[in-house]
Each structure stands twice: as structure tokens, then as C-alpha cells.
């Protein structure tokens, strides 16, 4: 359906110049150029989840780049002009993005808006390039092969077909990138940045990459846009343009890439319609912007998923393509896990000492339980171990190397994976895609997308993880459709697939029924074959059965550490902790 619509659109675009006059050709050229801007914005908004309200700044940057490199009275070669607009916009995007990407959510929206306005004022208030009046590019780019004028942007048809080709190329490039391993990480960031970071991805770099790619294509659009009329104006940077571009993205359907192209076309038609007195009457045509405003408001209230939402169901803008050659994995060989030791580890929150001088060692290939009453500092402790929080004092050694105070994604790369108290997976991804993203985290070169050996390893890691976690049969099910217990298993599967050798699990049994509990306890025992496992758990029966050692935390202090038998016998523990249950039957014995 989608493919059919796109092929039909391309076919129409190919023959259109033969049926419409010069105005129609120019109009359609402009729509195609805006579509390049909009599809690149969708890559930012829909794929990466960065809502930029300043994307038109790249339209302006590309346009002014062309102005600056064009000599007064002769044409600049298109072979130089087009790459120049792309590179200049990419450089600016890198500089602006380096700051803007620090911001999240609301802040990102406002910061991109502010940067767009900053560039607008820069070109509007100063005398550069004619200031607020704008400036003319006297001769637009041409391309000569020998004496033959192969391409002339001043020729309406030349420019038309060049823009069509540029639009198709931009779309295919972004589609390819979205479906590549890099794109998988970007989509992961869009849905759950914390999880992706905890798997060991430096999300800042990925978001910046996305910003630069989108900016570069925006620059391309700007260069072409300036070629249509041979004119640049500061208004190109303006936030109205940015707002309209967002509108086209949403009108078409965010995250689909093709949807926003349809959105740009539809918007252009809508605009022509609303501005034409013959169609809607003079009153509306005079105030067409108000009509547009109401269309926008109606769109948000009635059809927030855009046109693409009508063309497809439950795809959520996610490519489903995934290789399906699942071969039987070899039996898992015992492998050494990582060992972890802390010394005098402390964390204060103002006056509260949540973790107080904890010195404990977790041997490799064992299951270690951490127990304690609510508020004992258990979750704070594992937040320190996994780098979510920096410790106030003390050291943490992973296989003898100091990791205290390092960022979470750096610790994750050293082979430490963690799960969260609340299930933390990528709900719109399938089970297999979740694991594939995790498997990718262990690979240092996400760019090498066509590396067959790498793909095979990745596939093996996914198959192995699914098998270990007992989810092989559920591979193609969307994570959102799993039961609660299965989602917790999936989170563990992701950690296995990521290649972590030390797993830290925060209440993996919470909310599970007896059958699921038994299954996960067996899984934990099995995991110790090639991992070290540390878990927090409130289900006493289960943890006494599953763990090789137990550490008891009370008010931030480690009051006991030993085998389950030793802990059971430890009277201090009974008094301080197990005693609180009052009912002796609940003490595992």
C-alpha cells in the first residue's frame, strides 16, 4: 500500500512537467525541496525523538552558503555548490547540536527555537548579505562537462528533475540509515533513552549524529531552495518555517519518513486551496492563515497520527525487517563471569547516608542476593555499582579495575548489565529487536553495517540470549504484548545478549506468580554458568533458594554477609530484619 502510493507519486512527479505550466513546475519544485527539509526533520523527530523547533535554520544556512560561494556574475559549479551547502550546514549542526543535545524534552524544543532565532537575528540585524532585505544570487549553479552545459539550475526543468532526484536520494538514504544498526539505536533512544544508555551506548553521540545528518540534508534543501528564485532572506531561518515543517511532519505521520513527504504535498495543496478566493471565497482567502491554524488544531485533536496512520495499522513507524535464519545454538559453555568488590562505599543525599561504608565482595559465577527492609539503601547501592549515581566515597572494582564514578554507559561496556525495579525495555520493538539492539552494544563499530561476520555474531548472541531466557518462541512478538513475567525475562535476555558478564537485577521476581517465580529462579541458577549475578529481592523463599551468598543491608550498613545457611543462623539478622516479619513461619528455615 505504502509502496504503491510512493511509486504513484514518483510517476506523477516524472510526467507532471508536461502537463503544468511554468508556475506549476516552480510550485512543485518548491514542494519537493520543502519535502527534503521535512523528511530530514522527521528523522530527528520521529526516528530519534528529538523535537526540534529550529530546523528551518538549516534551510537558511544552506541558502546563505550558496549565496556566499556564488560569484557576482558567473555561475558556481553545482558540483561544488551542492556539497558545500551540505557540509556547511553539517558543520553548523555539529556546533549547535553539541550544545542543544545536552538539553532534553522541553528544553530541547526551546533551545533549538532560540538557536534558530539567533541565526535569524544575526542575518536580520547585521548588514551581512543585505540584512533584513535579503539578497539576490545573480547566477544560480550550473554544471559543465567540457563545453556542454549538463545541468543549469536556472532552467526550470533541470532544477525540477534535480530536486526530484535529490528528494528520492534523501529519502532512501534516511530509510537505509533508519534500518541500519545505527538507526536501531536511534529508535531505541526515541523510545527509552535510559535503557539504551544502560546497555552501553553513548546516547549523546548518537543524538548528535542524528542532528548533524538532519542538518546536512536541511542544508541541501536550503541550497536548492535558494536556486529556485535566486534569492535569500533571513525569513528562511524563522520559526514560522520551522513550525510549518513540524506541522507537515505530523500531518504526514511522524517516524515513517514517507509520511512527511505526503504531508508536504498535502500542505502545499491545502495552502493553494485556502489562498485561492475562487475556491473558498475572498474572506477566507484573505485570512487563510487562520483557517490553517484551525486545520492544525483540528489535526492534533482528531488525527494525531497523520496520513500514515490511515495507510497502515500498528506499525508505529518501525521497520519490521529482520533476518530470520535462526540456527540451533551450541550448548552454552561455562565461562568466567566478572567479579565485583566494593570498599568503604558511601553515598549521601544531603544529611541522609543512604549507603554507609559498605565493603563487600561478589565472587564470579555465583548468584548473590542483597536483602534488607525497605529504605535500607539496596537500590542506591546498585545504582552506585552500575554508575547511575556517583558514590560520595569509597571504591568499586570490577575484575580489579576501579570503576567508581564512571558514567553508566562506560561501565556497561566493561561488561556490567543491570535491570530496573520497573521493567525497562523498548515496548514498540519486538522481542528479537530488543535483543538485537542489546547485542549491538558489544560491537565497537556500529557503522560497519554490511560486515557479515559481525551480523552472524550478533545473530548468535540474540539466539543464545532468547534461548537462555526461554523466549525463543516469542521472538517476533512486540514487547508491549508480552506478559509482565515475560517482560522481566526479556530484560534479562537483553542483558545476556549485550555480552554482560556481571548482571545486576533489581527485584526480578516482583509481581510474579508462583510458576513464573520458579521459572526465573531456575533461569538465575542457570545464568551463573557464564555470568556473575547480583540481585535484590523481597521474595525470601525464592532468594534463599536461588542465592549462593546473601548480603543484609540495614539503614545503609552491611550487617551480615554469608551463605544462606549462615544468614539464617545469624541471630543479629533475625533481630534486625527477619524479626520484623513477626511470624516465624515466614522465616525461611
Amino acid at each position: 500500500m505504502v509502496l504503491a502510493v510512493l511509486i504513484a507519486l514518483i510517476a506523477i512527479a516524472l510526467v507532471l512537467p508536461f502537463f503544468v505550466g511554468t508556475y506549476g513546475i516552480k510550485f512543485t519544485t518548491r514542494v519537493m525541496v520543502i519535502a527534503i527539509l521535512v523528511v530530514s526533520l522527521d528523522f530527528l523527530i520521529g526516528v530519534t525523538g528529538l523535537v526540534s523547533f529550529g530546523h528551518a535554520m538549516f534551510l537558511g544556512l544552506g541558502a546563505y552558503t550558496l549565496y556566499f560561494i556564488s560569484p557576482k556574475s558567473e555561475a558556481v559549479s553545482a558540483l561544488i555548490a551542492i556539497p558545500a551547502t551540505i557540509v556547511a550546514a553539517a558543520i553548523c549542526a555539529a556546533a549547535i547540536g553539541a550544545i542543544a543535545v545536552l538539553a532534553r524534552g522541553f528544553y530541547f524544543i526551546m533551545v533549538t527555537l532560540a538557536f534558530g532565532q539567533m541565526l535569524f537575528s544575526l542575518f536580520h540585524d547585521t548588514d551581512v548579505a543585505g540584512g533584513s532585505d535579503g539578497a539576490y544570487i545573480n547566477v544560480v549553479p550550473q554544471f559543465h562537462i567540457g563545453d556542454w552545459l549538463a545541468l543549469d539550475f536556472g532552467n526550470r526543468l533541470n532544477l525540477y528533475y534535480f530536486c526530484l532526484a535529490a528528494l528520492i536520494a534523501s529519502y532512501l538514504f534516511l530509510l537505509w540509515l533508519t534500518r541500519s544498526p545505527v538507526g536501531r539505536v536511534l529508535q531505541g533512544i526515541c523510545h527509552n533513552e535510559a535503557r539504551v544508555s544502560a546497555l552501553g551506548f553513548n546516547t549523546y553521540n548518537y543524538k548528535l549524529l542524528s542532528f548533524v545528518v538532519a542538518g546536512a540534508l536541511g542544508g541541501l534543501a536550503g541550497g536548492l531552495f535558494a536556486s529556485i528564485d535566486g534569492y535569500v532572506t533571513p525569513d528562511l531561518f524563522g520559526w514560522r518555517e520551522s513550525g510549518l515543517a513540524i506541522m507537515m511532519v505530523v500531518l504526514g505521520g511522524t517516524g515513517t519518513l514517507y509520511g512527511p513527504i505526503l504531508g508536504a504535498v498535502l500542505f502545499a495543496i491545502l495552502e493553494e486551496l485556502l489562498r485561492s478566493p475562487a475556491m473558498v471565497g475572498a474572506t477566507i482567502a484573505d485570512h487563510w492563515l487562520m483557517a490553517l491554524g484551525f486545520v492544525l488544531i483540528g489535526l492534533v485533536l482528531v488525527a494525531p497520527r497523520g496520513i500514515a496512520g490511515l495507510l497502515e495499522r500498528d506499525r508505529g513507524g518501525k521497520p519490521a525487517a529482520e533476518p530470520v535464519e535462526a540456527k540451533a545454538p551450541p550448548a552454552r559453555q561455562p565461562q568466567p563471569g566478572k567479579e565485583l568488590a566494593t570498599e568503604e562505599l558511601s553515598r549521601r543525599f544531603g544529611g541522609l547516608v543512604a549507603v554507609n561504608g559498605v565493603t563487600v565482595g561478589f565472587q564470579r559465577n555465583r548468584v548473590h542476593g542483597i536483602i534488607g527492609p525497605n529504605g535500607a539503601g539496596k537500590t542506591t547501592l546498585i545504582n552506585l555499582l552500575s554508575g547511575v549515581l556517583p558514590p560520595t566515597a569509597g571504591s568499586i572494582r570490577l575484575d580489579g579495575e576501579e570503576i567508581a564514578g564512571q558514567r553508566d554507559f562506560l561501565i556497561a561496556r566493561r561488561g556490567l548489565g543491570r535491570s530496573y525495579q520497573r521493567t525497562n525495555i523498548l515496548l514498540p520493538f519486538t522481542v528479537g529487536e530488543n535483543c538485537r539492539l542489546a547485542a549491538q552494544a558489544r560491537h565497537p563499530h556500529p557503522w560497519r553495517v554490511s560486515d557479515a561476520a559481525y551480523r552472524q555474531n550478533e545473530e548468535a548472541a540474540v539466539v543464545n540470549a532468547l534461548q537462555a531466557a526461554g523466549l525463543t518462541a516469542r521472538r517476533h512478538v512486540r514487547a508491549a504484548h508480552l506478559s509482565h513475567g515475560e517482560q522481566r525475562q526479556l530484560e534479562i535476555a537483553m542483558l545476556i545478549a549485550s555480552g554482560a558478564r556481571l548482571l545486576i537485577l533489581d527485584e526480578p521476581l516482583a509481581g510474579m506468580g508462583p510458576e513464573e517465580t520458579a521459572r526465573v529462579v531456575a533461569l538465575l541458577r542457570d545464568l551463573a554458568v557464564d555470568h556473575t549475578v547480583i540481585l535484590i529481592e523481597h521474595d525470601m523463599d525464592a532468594i534463599f533458594a536461588a542465592a549462593d551468598t546473601l548480603s543484609v543491608l540495614v539503614e545503609g550498613k552491611l550487617i551480615a554477609h554469608g551463605t544462606p545457611d549462615e544468614i539464617r543462623r545469624d541471630l543479629a539478622v533475625r533481630a534486625a530484619y527477619l524479626g520484623q516479619y513477626g511470624d516465624s513461619e515466614k522465616v525461611p528455615g
Partner: protein
């Protein structure tokens, strides 16, 4: 030296005006969780109310007294018609709907008041200038604007500190989910906060109208500057909005003198610097 004094006064006065606009924006962010692009339109509403009401009543202060309740009612109506559908929707849809509102408001303005710039008279009893030194004088009306802004800001603080609804606002400022969990009727709270934000922005527009002329795009500059203030101060923080607005006011005033063409760039550079050092703003929660 005298130039510096003048610019400090100008900067503080401009900063206080922006604070009125930005405080509404930051409260609406912090408590309703709404990113409201149409906030600048309410400043524009104030400026045009100032134009019309001053010509009816003949005095800017009567216009202010009448304009604030009108703007408050207008804000409540907008919340009821549009904004309440946006709670718990994602940022993108909030951006889009409020962008649509801007287009609608701009055209409404064109229909009602036309595209010509207008000026609003300064009341005769405030049209003098104060002699600050032998060679230096400063318009009384500008000082009066600063005083009005301070009074309105104090009134806002009083409402927030002393009333029941203010208590809810403070609770919402520190933890929005908690307020909902406490069973407070958030519909009333949200409508009040939104309407109050509109009234504050409009008040700023009303008193500023005699200083700058009244023209169609007047709200948009204020919107962008208010965003910058909120980014600097930290979302949801009134104190941050005050500090941010004064910083921006001073940066703008001195920028205009020392880097005339780059004054607006100075303001954005300030924002970038804050963002790099404190990504959640000066007083924001990380």
C-alpha cells in the same frame, strides 16, 4: 558612567516586564506540563487591550485594571476550549496545537485592529522625566512600569505563599504527580494557573504599550525571549524566571549599547553558556 546607569535602569525595567511574561510561561510548564507557544500572543493581547481600553477610559491604569480581568477570562476560555485536551499528550502535539493558536490569534488581531502600528499615550502626570544628575534624566513612566511590575510580582508571590490555591501551586512546582495523587481537583488548579499566566503576560503587554509601539508581531519576540528566560532559570521555577529575566534584561540593554548589531545574539549566547554549565537551568531540577 551615566550611560551605564541608564542602561542598568533600562535593563531592570525590561527584565521585570519579561519576568511577568515568563513567569506565566514557566508556571504553565511546571504545573500543567504544557509547552505553550501561544504565550506571546497573550502579551500581544495585552498591548492591543491597552490601545483600545486606554482610548475608551483615557488612562493606562484604568486600562490595566480592566484589562487584567478580561485577559484572565480569555485565558480560562482558551484553557477550556483547547489546552485541556493537551494534558498528558506528547510535546509534539502541544507544540503543534499552540502553533495553530498563534496563527489564529495573529489573524484575529489583523481583523480587529489592522496591520498599522499604533502608539498608546503616556498619561500626562507621568510624562515628565526625573533629573538624575546635571546631564542625565530618566522618563518617569519607565520607572512607573518597573514599580507596577514589582507590585504585580509581589501580588503573585502573595497568592502563591498565602492562599490555598497558591499552596497547590507550590506543591505542583515541586512534584506534579504528587498533586494529582493527593486528589486535588487539578482541573480547577490548571485552569486558574493558565488564566493567571495569560493575565500576567497581558499585564506586561498593557503597561509596555506606551513605551514601545503596538504592532502585529509584538508577541513573538516576547515569546522567544521568555523561552530563553525559562531555559536559563529552569522550568517551573519562579525564582529562576526572575533571575533569568533580569539577566536577559541587562544583557540586552548593554548589548544594544556596546554591540548594537549583535544585541540579540548576546542574549542567546548567554543562554548557551548557562545550558552548557547547567543543562537544567540555574534553578531547575535535573
Amino acid at each position: 558612567m551615566e550611560l551605564v546607569l541608564i542602561q542598568i535602569l533600562n535593563g531592570l525595567q525590561y527584565g521585570l516586564l519579561i519576568f511577568l511574561a515568563a513567569s506565566g510561561l514557566t508556571l504553565v510548564f511546571g504545573i500543567l506540563g504544557i509547552i505553550n507557544l501561544s504565550h506571546g500572543s497573550f502579551y500581544m493581547l495585552g498591548a492591543y487591550l491597552s490601545l483600545t481600553l486606554t482610548s475608551w477610559f483615557g488612562d493606562i491604569f484604568l486600562a490595566l485594571a480592566a484589562g487584567i480581568p478580561i485577559a484572565f477570562a480569555f485565558g480560562a476560555a482558551i484553557e477550556w476550549l483547547f489546552i485541556r485536551h493537551l494534558y498528558n499528550r506528547d510535546h509534539l502535539q502541544q507544540v503543534l496545537l499552540t502553533f495553530g493558536l498563534i496563527l489564529v490569534f495573529n489573524e484575529l488581531q489583523r481583523i480587529l485592529w489592522g496591520t498599522q502600528p499604533h502608539s498608546v499615550p503616556i498619561p500626562a502626570y507621568l510624562s515628565a522625566s526625573i533629573q538624575l544628575s546635571d546631564t542625565l534624566s530618566y522618563p518617569v513612566y519607565r520607572l512607573a512600569v518597573g514599580a507596577i511590575c514589582i507590585l504585580l510580582a509581589l501580588a503573585m508571590m502573595l497568592v502563591i505563599q498565602k492562599t490555598r490555591i497558591g499552596q497547590m501551586i507550590r506543591a505542583g512546582e515541586s512534584n506534579r504527580e504528587m498533586v494529582e495523587a493527593l486528589g486535588i481537583d487539578t482541573r480547577i488548579l490548571f485552569r486558574f494557573v493558565f488564566a493567571a499566566g495569560v493575565a500576567l503576560a497581558a499585564a506586561a503587554g498593557i503597561v509596555a504599550a506606551p513605551i514601545e509601539s503596538v504592532y502585529p508581531g509584538i508577541g513573538e519576540r516576547v515569546l522567544i525571549i521568555s523561552f530563553v528566560v525559562v531555559v536559563i532559570g529552569g522550568i517551573g521555577s519562579i525564582k529562576g524566571a526572575l533571575v533569568g529575566a533580569l539577566l536577559i534584561g541587562l544583557a540586552d540593554a548593554f548589548g544594544k549599547v556596546f554591540l548594537p548589531q549583535l544585541a540579540s545574539v548576546v542574549v542567546y549566547a548567554l543562554m548557551a553558556a548557562v545550558l552548557v554549565t547547567r543543562p537544567a537551568g540555574l534553578f531547575g531540577r535535573a
